[in-house]
Symmetry: C2
Subunit: 310 residues, 2 copies
Amino acid sequence: MGEVARAEPGRTRIGWIGTGVMGAPMCGHLMEAGFPATVTTRSRERARGLLERGAVWADTPAAVAARSDVIFSMVGYPDDVREVVLGPDGALEGCAPGAVLVDMTTSRPSLAGEIARAAELRGVHALDAPVSGGEGGARAGTLSIMIGGEAGAVAALDLCWRALGATVVRQGGPGTGQHAKMVNQTLIASALVGVCEALLYAQRAGLDPERVLESVGAGAAGSWQLANLGPRMLASDWKAGFYVEHFLKDLSIALDESARIGLALPGLALARRLVEALVEQGHGRSGTQALVLALASLSDLDWPPAPVPR
Amino acid sequence: MGEVARAEPGRTRIGWIGTGVMGAPMCGHLMEAGFPATVTTRSRERARGLLERGAVWADTPAAVAARSDVIFSMVGYPDDVREVVLGPDGALEGCAPGAVLVDMTTSRPSLAGEIARAAELRGVHALDAPVSGGEGGARAGTLSIMIGGEAGAVAALDLCWRALGATVVRQGGPGTGQHAKMVNQTLIASALVGVCEALLYAQRAGLDPERVLESVGAGAAGSWQLANLGPRMLASDWKAGFYVEHFLKDLSIALDESARIGLALPGLALARRLVEALVEQGHGRSGTQALVLALASLSDLDWPPAPVPR
C-alpha cells in the first residue's frame, strides 16, 4: 500500500464512530486541534455536544467514512466493532483507498488482525489503538494509547495521537495494540483483587484502614489501584470510573486470548470469576472498586465487615 | 504498668537479637544514633561487623536482655520468635521490670498478643513492629515500621524508630503491627501474580516487553512490583531482594490468620500455592520475582517463553 498522507489540522477530515463517555471528549480534542469531524453514534442525542461545536452528522459508519480521511471508532464490544467496521453499512464500505481506520475500542486482537487484512484488500490502512486512562484520561487528553499496525500509518497520525493522549507507543503489527491492552488489564485484575482482599482483611482484623494505608501505600505494596480505588472502597463509593461490565468484557477477551496462546493464568481467571459474580450481583454499572463486595460475599460478610470479636 | 522512660542516645542501652541481612544494618543505625548495644545471634560470625564497631556480645537472648533497657528481635520464623523471647534462655527471662521488648520479625499476630500478655505479668512492655522495605530499606534506614502495642511505649521509643525507618505508624494494640504487615503482604501477593501473568502474556504474544512497560507502567496498571520486579523478570535476574522462602512464611501466616477471622481470600491462597510450588522448584533463596517461573511452569513453558507461532 502507498504512503499515508500526514494528518494536518484544517486539511485532514476525521470521522468518529461512537460518541460515548470516552468517544465524545476524544473527538472533541481532535476538533479543538483543528480537525473537521463527521460523527455517528447509536443515538444522535449522545452526539449533540459535538454537533453544536460544528461536527457534521452522518447516519451510518459508511457515510462517516465516505466524508473522512481518518476514521476512528470507539464503541462497546467486539461485536459492535465488527458491525461498525466490517458490517454492511460499516466504515470500510465507505472508505476511499488511502483512508485510515483506527479502532480505539478495547477488543479482540484477532479481530484487529481480521480488520487489517480486510482493509488491505481495499487499499485502506487499519490500526488498533486501545487506550488506558478511563473517562478522566479521555477528558484530560492524557490517555495512554497502545497502537498496533503499520509504522508509516502510525507516524502519519502523529498530530491526532498528540491531541488524544500523553503516552503513545506503537507496539508492533496489527493486533499488538490490543495485546498490550490485555497486558494492562491482566495487571489491573490481580492488583485489584489484592486491594480488595487486603482492605477486607484490615477491616475484619479491626485495624484503622487509614493508618494501614499510611504504612503500606508508599512501599512494595503500593499501586495505582490501591492509591485510587482503596479510598473509594473504604468510603463505599461505587460511582464508576470504569464500569464493571466493561472490565468483564476485557478480562474475558484476555482469558480467551491467553488460552489461545497456550497460557494458564490463574490470577486472571480468578479475577474474571469474581467480576462475573459482581455483575450477577447487579453491579455491572458500578465502578471496578465494587469488586470488594464480591470478595466480602465470598466470606458471607457485608461491607464493611464487622471486626471479628476479640 | 508504669510509664516508659524515653529512649535517649548515650543513656538507653539497647539489645539486639538476630543480626542477619535485616538485623545487622538496623542495629548499626541505632549504634550510629548513639545507643550502646549488646547483641546475640545464632552464629557469632554474623555479628562481627557490629562487634568491631563497639557492640558487646552476649551468649543468650536472656543475657542480652539483662544488660539492656530496650531489646529488639529480628529473627526468621514465629518459632524462632517464641524461642528467643519466651524460651528458657529467652529475652523475657532476662528483662528487668520496665524494659521494652520489640519484636520486628514478621510473625503471627496471635504470638504478638501472647508475648504482650506474658510480658505484662513481669512488668515488661512488648511491641510488635514488623517492617517493609527489605534489605535496601534496612540499610538506608527508610523502612516502613508497623507497630502494635501500648501508645506510651511506642512514643517513648521515638528516637529509635527515627533511626530505623522513614514511615512509622502505630496501628493499635498488641498484634496490630503484625496484622498491618499481613495487609502489606496480601497486597504484594496478588500484585506480584499480576506482574508475572502480564509479562508471561506479553512475551508469549510476541510483544516487545520494553514497549509494553512504557505503555502500561504509568497508569492504572502501575505498581511498585511492576516497576521494580518487572525489569528483573525480563532480565531473568533472580537475585534476592526478598527471599521466596520468607514470602512463603508470610503468606502462610496471612492465610492462617484470614481463616481465623473468617475470611476466604482466594487471591492470597492462589499466591501461596504458587510460591510453595516455587520453593519446591528449588527457588527458596531466590528473590520473589522468580515467581514468574512458577507461572511459566503451569503452562509447561520455559522463561522467557517462545512467542506463539503466528
